[in-house]
Amino acid sequence: MNLAYVSNLAISVVAASTPLLIAASGELVAEKSGVLNLGVEGMMLVGAIAGFATAHQTGSALLGVGAAALAGMLIAMIFALLTLSFLANQVATGLALTIFGKGFAALLGAGYVGISAPVLHAIPVPLLSQIPFIGHVLFDQNILIYFSFVMLALIAWFLNKTHAGLILRAVGDSHDAAHAMGYPVLRIRYAAVAFGGAMAGIGGAYLSLFYSPLWSQDLTAGRGWIALALVVFSAWRPLWLLVGAYLFGGITFLSLYIQGLGIAVPSPLVSLLPYVGTVVVLVLISRDARRIRLNQPACLGKYFHAVS
């Protein structure tokens, strides 16, 4: 195994991990504010097609990413309106968002199957990309890969170091207490859900503008759900989200790798790996119920109606 081979391998892991990391870090923020949005898969799909279509029409992949963020945010607002203002059950509404998002993306994307769009190109970071091995793996990538790291760092800083982040965590911990102290619980949650939607949309655009890079109806293949599992895995801590996303990226890559080796395992069984991996990891992480309860935002999934 030479260095180039290892670095290609590492690049593939980074490539497979990034959409999970982006989508999961958005969901993390939403969940920290106490909202469980199970519609990540739907938001990713809508983002993927919005990004793809925009890039195709305008010729700019970056505009596509922007459109994906906007589309993800808009569709997340349907969820926010229903769960926050109309007090709908968050689990059911999240499912509805996924069902709707799949249908909506398929409808929009009907004319884009088999067409190509501009893709995201690698932008080497000056100097850093010259570092042997690491430079190539981490600093000679497309913009969304940098974005995933920067956003994760920003989120960690925001949640733990800023007063606004403290307020967001407080809303997730006890919306009644936050309301009694005069914090606008619903507005904060709307913002958090919107952020989650934008990030899921960008995660989707990453798939359609770089990873695939094509539009197909079930492009996400359950990645939205895996992102949700990652948030549980991380116990709502940003750094562990990074570990989790790369673990899954590794598993996804492993399944491709096994196929590449030409070992006589039927390809559908190899494709099982990420899903089985998700179940196994969920089981391992959830075993300690006390730990989950301690870290989980106490108001996660509960509806809030202020008497005013």
């Binding site: 499912l95 069902i99 249908g103």
Partner: protein, 358 residues
């Protein structure tokens, strides 16, 4: 904000039934808007979608055929959701049921025993129960979230199906297509006369009625409702949460498995790579639209079945993608969830003469 929500204090009986009706009306209006946005005549569009498919006798019978799996899965999910168990892996249990039954049907020579078909159905039920049982086991033993595990098991079941029909179970005479051999007559769901209506179309509403009686009249049904609404009260009363979780998942898994084996031994007739167009997810909507009530599920199942037929009709007659079905279903569930707020709340106008204007 001109209006604000205020709690009613008690359930509004009117809106318990009115909210699905309102949701359906709003969905139809929205669909017409979507049709016209896509450059199709809205009235003709909605007619093609909702009326054309059932304007003929054969259309009506295909409605019943489509509704059968939706009602079976939806009734089981309604039971689960009543017990606050969020099984959304209906498709996985459907697929495993189909695989378990089909395994026997393919292994036995045609017409080996008279009880071959009943045995195939039983295996289908067991297959679905097994797949849902994994979810129950992981939830109770390891506290793993059932939403995520049941969903992952959908993908896993689908990939197992693909593996089997492209590998070990592929029909040797199938010209390399990814599908199994057709099932023999001894393992085929009987249908009635010249129609496509089959045994499952009768079984589905019948099973829903049985579940209704269980929920409404039995101590078990009472326990499921209590554990869903107030888990602490269930503990206080001495109802075992673990036992009820097992029951809810096994019943709904069994029903999904039954739907799966009937579907492949009936309308489809063999295993292919796509044996469900997402019945398991549509059944989530069926359960909610039916007010988590097995009788409501029957009606909701028919409506959702119509949305599948409508998607096909729109594709053929209006040259639209059949993804319109997913949009219809998603929009319907959105409106329903939104309208449900009226059951426990009312909107009150905020008087402009508020004292804080001082």
């Amino acid at each position: 904000m001109l209006y604000r929500l205020e709690p009613r204090g008690e359930r509004s009986l009117f809106w318990s039934y009115g909210s699905p009706v309102l949701a359906v009306i709003l969905t139809i209006i929205t669909m017409m808007a979507i049709f016209s946005l896509l450059g199709k005549p809205p009235v003709q569009g909605i007619e093609t979608f909702l009326i054309t498919p059932i304007s003929t006798a054969s259309g009506l019978s295909s409605l019943l055929v489509r509704a059968a799996p939706l009602i079976m899965i939806g009734a089981g999910l309604a039971l689960c959701y009543r017990a606050n168990v969020w099984n959304i892996g209906g498709d996985g249990q459907f697929t495993l049921g189909a695989l378990a039954g089909a395994g026997l049907a393919l292994a036995l020579p045609n017409g080996a025993f008279w009880w071959e078909y009943p045995l195939v159905l039983c295996l289908g039920v067991l297959g679905g129960m097994f797949w849902a049982g994994i979810v129950a086991f992981l939830k109770l033993r390891f506290n793993a979230n059932e939403i995520l595990t049941s969903l992952m098991l959908v993908y896993i079941a689908q990939l197992i199906l693909v593996w089997l029909v492209t590998g070990p179970w592929r029909d040797p005479q199938g010209f390399g297509f990814p599908q199994s051999a057709m099932f023999g007559a001894g393992a085929t769901t009987p249908d009635f006369g010249t129609t496509s209506i089959h045994l499952g179309c009768l079984l589905a509403p019948l099973l829903a009625l049985v579940l209704w009686q269980i929920l409404a009249r039995s101590v078990l049904g009472f326990q499921l409702r209590v554990v869903g609404q107030a888990p602490r009260a269930a503990r206080f009363a001495g109802f075992s949460n673990a036992r009820l979780t097992w029951i809810a998942l096994l019943v709904s898994g069994g029903l999904s498995g039954l739907a799966g084996i009937i579907e492949v031994t009936g309308p489809i007739g063999q295993l292919t790579t796509t044996i469900t167009p997402g019945y398991g997810f549509s059944a989530v909507i069926v359960a909610f639209l039916g007010r988590l009530h097995p009788v409501g599920v029957i009606f909701a199942g028919l409506l959702l079945a119509l949305s599948y037929l409508g998607g096909d009709a729109a594709q053929i007659n209006l040259n639209m993608p059949n993804a319109i079905t997913g949009i219809f279903q998603g929009v319907l569930l959105f409106y329903l969830l939104g309208a449900d707020v009226l059951i426990l709340h009312r909107f009150r106008r905020i008087r402009p003469s508020a004292p804080e204007a001082a």
